[in-house]
């Protein structure tokens, strides 16, 4: 993980000059990003698309995408961003709040304890900052890092077996996950 951070820093330092562009007062903006969430136990892919209205400093949009950390989920969330300073490149901060809708894969629905499970979604929260490299054609390349929080609940139907056989009705056990990850993304801003 530290290696990824160092790479990010290196990228920033190697960045050359880019043209400055004018941004109208309010305009439609589409931000499409792909990246990774890196947590305590794994690093998994994520991608998202955020579409909304922005001006030179502010952006507010509605976003969705896919998150593959622990369980496959579809986050739907609000996306607020603020761009600092002006120039060919801008630092920005973002904050996302929303909900992860579960879309667990078949493998994720099988629990090692002889049971099948159902996965329910939970709260999504993310915050962080990044750098926006403005291009000539009003587009921009984004690179960002931040904190990402995802909640999910797994209900496992356990078939417990003993001396005389197995229980006729599965025993349901519940796992609540609170997943705190580092989020790294690169993206493309269209406006």
């Amino acid at each position: 993980m530290k290696f990824i951070c160092l790479c990010l820093l290196a990228c920033i330092n190697c960045w050359g000059a880019t043209a400055q562009k004018k941004v109208s007062k309010f305009n439609f903006q589409s931000i499409n990003e792909v990246g990774f969430t890196a947590g305590e136990n794994a690093t998994r892919m994520q991608f998202s698309t955020s579409n909304g209205i922005g001006n030179k400093n502010w952006y507010a949009g509605l976003a969705t995408g896919m998150d593959f950390y622990r369980f496959r989920t579809v986050p739907v969330y609000t996306d607020f961003r603020y761009r600092f300073l002006k120039g060919p490149g801008q630092v920005f901060a973002y904050i996302n709040t929303g909900y992860h809708f579960a879309w667990a894969t078949t493998n994720e629905k099988v629990n090692i304890w002889q049971g099948s499970s159902t996965v329910q979604g939970g709260v999504h929260f993310a915050a962080g900052g990044g750098y926006q490299f403005n291009l000539k054609n009003k587009h921009a390349i984004l690179i960002s890092a931040g904190y990402s929080y995802k909640r999910a609940t797994e209900k496992v139907n356990l078939t417990i077996c003993g001396f005389a056989g197995c229980n006729p009705s599965p025993v349901v056990e519940e796992y609540k996950y609170r997943l705190r990850r580092l989020s790294l993304k690169v993206g493309w801003l269209l406006q």
Binding site: M1, K2, C5, L8, L9, I12, N13, A17, A38, G39, E40, N41, R70, F84, L85, K86, G87, P88, G89, Q90, V91, W113, Q114, G128, G129, Y131, A145, G146, Y147, L158, T159, I160, C161, G162, F163, A164, G165, C166, N167, P168, S169, V171, E173, E174, Y175, K176, Y177, R178, L179, R180, R181, L182
Partner: protein, 418 residues
Amino acid sequence: MRNNNRLLLLPLLLAVCVLQTACIKDDCTHTYTYYEPVYRTKDEVRANIKSNAPQEVKNPGKIYIKGAYIFLNEIDKGIHVIDNSNPAQPKNLSFINIPGNMDMAVKGNTLYADLYQDLIAIDITNPQQIVTKKIIDDAFPHRRYANGFMADTNMIIINWTAKTQSISCSEYQNRGSCRGCIFETFSTADGNNKSAGASPFGSGGSMARFAIVNNYLYTVGNNNLDVFDINNSAAPTKNNSVPLSFGIETIYPFKDRLFIGSNTGMLIYSLQNPATPNEIGKFEHARVCDPVIAEDNVAFVTLRSGSTCAGFTNQLDVVNIQWLPATSLFKSYPMTNPHGLSKDGNTLFVCDGAAGLKVLNATYLSDIKTITTISNIDTYDVIAQNGVALVVAKDGLYQYDYTNLNNIRLLSKIGITQ
């Protein structure tokens, strides 16, 4: 300006890197239910082994038929005594409280049942006024630890109290205790099937672990065959214990043989010397669960996968046992998840789990055909005799009239109270 931007970004990314080690963490909370035992003294429990008021069927286990009576095991609780003189209107007469009970067998007017590790002989001459005749302490040592607990040896577990707890997943994983043991009290009783034993013996099933042949009661544990002398019905004595391989599941008597189902095969024991059964044949298969019934030259074995049964096989095997000790697979028929089975004449009844009760024409073993399937019931075991099939299902005890195989009728159902 660009330099300012970089200056702002550097501390930001450094902060993220710090966050990575400080805040990047997966938390997991595990909410589960566990069961605490409710104890009574041995004296209290034994004093309560009598014909108590009838209770609703909640978790039915094995069944045993004796004359006009059905003895239906309520897993770990006792035995329902049901008057079945009119199969269309069975009457729940009484309930015998026997904690830890899972198996039973009947000879004459004596019912033998397990009370955890103890064997009880009960006089059922009047099923509504039963009398305990004898208790053999520690007859089944493998049942000593009820549901995985090392119970107080002077006390008996009569019930379990459910409690819910939430702890971190890592803490749960490190508990080191058996995850499933405390749930054994909910284990399903696998049923039974028609026994070859004739009157005065009752009829158990293909899922039974108790069997009576003449003056001996045979019981199977996980890896042993126990022999009890019941020449004096009211005063059984433990005679012998024959070691078997692990994974023993069921016992089925036919004439002078015992057919023992294990999760890796079927063992055939001769009763030429009834006090000391000896192995005369074996039929091996993949690791699955396998209730068995048998006749002179053929045995029917259902293999099922799932849960502790492991394996991936679900089928009915027809096994040639004509040339013992040699046994051979004659033919296999695919099934969904077969459990208990029973045979009356050429009609074979197979409980195929959630796929229902399959009624098969077994006149020609090379071409067993389905006559009909009674669906919409999740079946465990069946006893078919005298035109009435008793079926233990997930939601109750069903009785079907099969005198006309083309028009099998539901006679009655004793439902389960959740």
